[in-house]
């Protein structure tokens, strides 16, 4: 037994070592993790939001919510008159969106839809969501008004050979052709500015009392702008639209807060975020314009990595549908067409 005791005593240093290594090991693990912070935290909400199925309604300020999960970000004004919705998202997400709208405004109807773009990702839910609303008439044909610039209707109603580009039930019911359309809803002025950029049908929507701008497709925080030159888009149009947003927005202290901008993709923004994006687009535009001035071809522009070097990981990297090359081609094409 004496030898057994001695044997156990021999284990004592090992046990002591174990007790000392564990906290030290934790320290080393901490040090190792110090430069690799990404992905440590689950992407969960830290403030009050309303989640209905896959749709997340993020309160912005005043009457305004940003709706996430129906394709691009959507904007909803919710108040005593009911709802006004900016864009309707993807067609496949329409039912989920309607379920969320029911929760956001259980008593008051959806009265207005404003389309900021004719692309299917922004207008795919038009038919179903408009039918869920009520403005034009009561009864079986009741639906919400769908308001857009006339170019949205022009593009959606054009003949593609066999039929109209988009079903009639998805078309805007009310269009405007001036630079601005105004209405007053839920106790505040709502101004729709025609700002052609990604295509010739873009608008931005300014909720004046809530101090929120729904930027539509001309601004996002994830990718270069997906300019469609064939559909009337242009780089200078995008820049002009961004400058318009900057003119309308007023930041609070330290160029932070104040007017809030809802992008078509990505995160809620303030004026400075838009300025950073505007700067980036303008600088790239200037570089391409300089290359064109020096008689460079589009292939030469694409081959010049300095054109977008400091921005492409952020806005045109792996995983983005709208790549750096597509963007540069659009910029080049846009700047070399006669209208520019």
């Amino acid at each position: 037994m004496k030898s057994r005791a001695i044997g156990l005593l021999a284990l004592l240093p090992a046990a002591l070592t174990l007790t000392m290594i564990t906290p030290l090991g934790s320290g080393i693990a901490t040090l190792r993790a110090q430069s690799g912070l990404t992905g440590q935290f689950p992407p969960t909400e830290s403030r009050e939001t309303r989640k209905v199925g896959d749709i997340i309604a993020v309160p912005v300020q005043g009457n305004i919510y940003m709706l996430v999960g129906a394709g691009p970000n959507l904007t909803a004004s919710v108040g005593p008159q009911g709802m006004l919705l900016v864009d309707t998202g993807e067609r496949a997400a329409a039912d989920k969106l309607i379920a969320a709208l029911r929760v956001l405004s259980p008593q008051r109807p959806l009265q207005f839809i404003i389309n900021t773009e004719f692309g299917e990702d922004h207008t795919g839910g038009n038919a179903a969501v408009a039918k869920f609303g009520r403005r034009i008439t009561d009864g079986p044909n009741a639906q919400a008004v769908i308001l857009a610039h006339e170019n949205v209707l022009t593009r959606m109603s054009r003949n593609n050979g066999a039929d109209h580009e988009r079903p009639v039930v998805e078309w805007p019911t009310d269009t405007f052709f001036a630079q601005r359309k105004e209405l007053y809803f839920n106790g505040e002025a709502v101004q729709v500015y025609y700002e052609p950029g990604r295509t010739d049908g873009n608008s931005i929507v300014f909720f004046r009392k809530s101090d929120v701008i729904s930027a539509g497709a001309v601004y996002n925080t994830k990718t270069f702008p997906a300019i469609d030159v064939a559909e009337g888009g242009s780089i200078n149009g995008v820049i002009e639209a961004l400058n318009e947003i900057l003119d309308l927005a007023v930041p609070a202290n330290n160029v932070e807060d104040g007017t809030i901008i809802i992008p078509s993709e990505g995160r809620l923004s303030d004026e400075l975020d838009v300025a950073v994006y505007r700067d980036m687009i303008t600088i790239i535009r200037d570089r391409v314009a300089d290359a064109i001035k020096r008689k460079q071809t589009v292939q030469q522009v694409l081959a010049d990595k300095k054109m977008t070097l400091e921005y492409e990981d952020r806005y045109g990297g792996a995983g983005t549908k709208w790549t750096r090359d597509k963007f540069l081609q659009a910029v080049y094409q846009s700047l070399t067409t006669k209208s520019e």
Binding site: L12, S26, L268, E310, R314
Partner: protein, 333 residues
């Protein structure tokens, strides 16, 4: 026999207890991390008088503020370097760029005193966070210690970012994300809005040391790591919080709407001035990651020796390295 058996049992019990100690310690640390600060770092901290010596020396040497083309000590990657090269100071005059504070990625390294105070849960009276106020431009921050998660991707980014913190032994470890794009230095060295940061706050008597790591693969070849210090000083005064109304854009007044001041790639003729004026190898001034390490001093010495051989003996001391630097600079566009 009985005595031996008793000894054996005693030994086994001791061993079991010893083995349990690490588990107990871990649990205690976790509990502390959740709720209870081990160390009180509240108070007014004077930072201006204790900036790292070489940093203060450099700032004083160049006349307060970073010089164009001075990227020394920054592990910039190609993208970060090009962004700095294209930067033009007139951009800060644009109305939407006025009143930038130092962002959290930089604020504790730049000048500016600060105050740390606890935030208490009104019901339980437990500490749920700490507020850090002050620094240049007042990008005030909150470190949440109540275990709350970081915000989702669609939430806003701010100058101060979103921070959670845990007590790790005798230091407070803070993790921050949701930061705005800002500067590492006001000469175009940019930190992106994808950057994340880890800080360690360590108190020694009346001194507070902060070690911070900024991880920004978009702009940096490797994490940016620095330390800074502050001393407890109840008489410290903080910078003003307000910065408005915004000024008229005078510098760019004759430019068209939407003008963004910048240099086209290869067109910034000011980039070599810092290296030439201060006798720094152009390679070091360009901010490569290899220049951060002690081993790079060997290269510096070689550069200095090469210069000694080639420099004219009649020149003044300040001009000697500058001459060699010009030679090196001429090889780089």
């Amino acid at each position: 026999m009985l005595n031996v058996s008793r000894h054996t049992k005693l030994l086994v019990a001791v061993l079991v207890l010893l083995c349990l100690i690490p588990l107990t310690q871990r649990k205690v640390v976790a509990q502390r991390g959740q709720q209870t600060p081990i160390l009180d770092i509240q108070g007014m901290w004077n930072h201006n008088n204790l900036m790292t010596e070489e940093r203060a020396t450099l700032i004083n040497a160049v006349g307060g503020g970073a010089k164009i083309g001075d990227y020394t000590g920054f592990p910039l990657n190609e993208a970060g370097r090009q962004q700095a090269d294209s930067w033009m100071a007139a951009r800060l005059e644009l109305p939407e760029h006025q009143c930038h504070p130092h962002p959290a990625q930089y604020s504790l390294w730049g000048p500016g005193n600060f105050r740390i105070s606890n935030i208490y849960d009104p019901l339980s009276d437990r500490i749920i966070g700490m507020r850090l106020q002050g620094t240049f431009g007042r990008a005030d921050r909150v470190f949440w210690v109540d275990g709350r998660p970081h915000p989702p991707e669609y939430d806003r980014h701010t100058w101060g970012g979103f921070s959670t913190a845990v007590w790790d032994g005798n230091m407070l470890t803070v993790d921050t994300d949701h930061l705005k794009e800002g500067w590492f230095s006001r000469n175009g060295i940019t930190t992106s809005d994808s950057a994340t940061m880890r800080e360690h706050y360590i108190k020694h008597d009346n001194y507070l040391t902060v070690v911070f790591f900024v991880n920004d693969p978009e702009k940096l070849a490797e994490p940016f790591i620095r330390t800074t210090q502050a001393v407890y000083d109840p008489t410290t005064v903080l910078n003003a919080q307000e910065c408005q109304p915004f000024n008229t854009n005078v510098i760019n007044a004759d430019q068209p709407r939407g003008y963004v001041p910048h240099f086209l790639p290869g067109k910034n003729d000011q980039l070599k001035a810092f290296a030439e004026t201060f006798g720094v190898p152009i390679e070091a001034a360009r901010g490569e990651d290899k220049t951060l390490y002690p081993e790079y001093m060997v290269e510096i010495k070689k550069w200095a020796q090469a210069h000694e051989k080639t420099a004219p003996t009649t020149n003044e001391t300040r001009e000697k390295p500058a001459t060699a630097s010009r030679q090196a600079a001429s090889a780089i566009k």
